[in-house]
Symmetry: C2
Amino acid sequence: MSSENLHTQTKILNAALNLLQQGPAAKTRMSDIAKAAGISRQAVYLHYPSRADLMIAAARHLDQVKEVDARLADSRAATSGAQRLRSFIDAWGHFMPEIWGLAKAFLAMRETDEAAAAAWDDRMQAVRHGCQAAVSALDQDDQLSSAVTVKQGTDLLWALLSIETWRRLTHDCGWSQAAYIDHITRLAEVALLNRGSL
Amino acid sequence: MSSENLHTQTKILNAALNLLQQGPAAKTRMSDIAKAAGISRQAVYLHYPSRADLMIAAARHLDQVKEVDARLADSRAATSGAQRLRSFIDAWGHFMPEIWGLAKAFLAMRETDEAAAAAWDDRMQAVRHGCQAAVSALDQDDQLSSAVTVKQGTDLLWALLSIETWRRLTHDCGWSQAAYIDHITRLAEVALLNRGSL
DNA sequence: TTGTTGCTTGACACTATGTAAAGTTGACAG
DNA sequence: CTGTCAACTTTACATAGTGTCAAGCAACAA
């Protein structure tokens, strides 16, 4: 069985991600993770010196498993800037539900743990780069609205695509995933494209 | 005098709000608040049974001090729906920096304390009502974009005006308060107004 | 005087993180 | 077969912050 042969570290990370995806992130304790991984609590500390370190490792692991970078990079294949914007929103939009469990944990840690906050911000910078690439492509095509600079457009798109905004619309407002993507796409287009391109 | 009692409670709440506005919310402990209020830590528990209760009381207190409801209600005076939208964004936009300290505390508690999360959600529902009123006014004026229903428009506006979005743009992206208000206003208009009204 | 109110002081239970150290087990090299 | 090493276990403990409990004290009122 391959699951028997999994390295202990992988078992820990999978257990952590599993628990985070299920329950409230803050209630996922080191002892819970250890139990779920089938090892002692102390053994977890042999691999990850702190809870924050474990979460950071889990984030990297999730990136690998879900192939984040590869899927986001797909949007680069688009021919026009407008097309690129749409496919980027689509890719990232479908991604968020899959990383939500972990995101919850980082959002909760953000105000308390500096290292965790830095690690999360770093991951979010990757998303920002995608936003910037899309907005730059619009600019190159002369399709960027004259109301915003590339930086402002990037910032706005990044804010629209934040996990927090996704959470509010899908969780608090009860939107479906499809509705979220549709409306955010429309909003991004209307905010970023010049009027002639619509 | 029964006002002595009130006096101590007020001292506690002011101390708490002060500390929250200054440092990282999660590092504001009960003992810090007690010290800042000039009383013992135990005395705080005589007035507020838990940290979450204190935060909730602090939120109510801040609402009173800042006269949130009254200031938000000003936007009702607007004659047109479009005007109402603008003045609501303006009012709430200027408000956020003033409640940011407390907001930080609630954002950090959100995943851990159910009572606190409920209290915060309740405050945010008040903002949502303001959003709904503005969007409904647009609808009444036949100025609401055909791309959204009143509910969808309310949700979108609410998301745009969330503290999290404000934080991202002003803190993470370095926008000025004025830039935030300008761009969010433009975004809201372009998202919610039908094209003829622009 | 006696009782009440609002606070103080000090002790303690609980939870979760993280540290430390000694013991167990199994694989593998010689 | 034996010794060693690494990974893991078990147990104990330090620490930080929340929240509880109880005794005491000062001011003030009936």
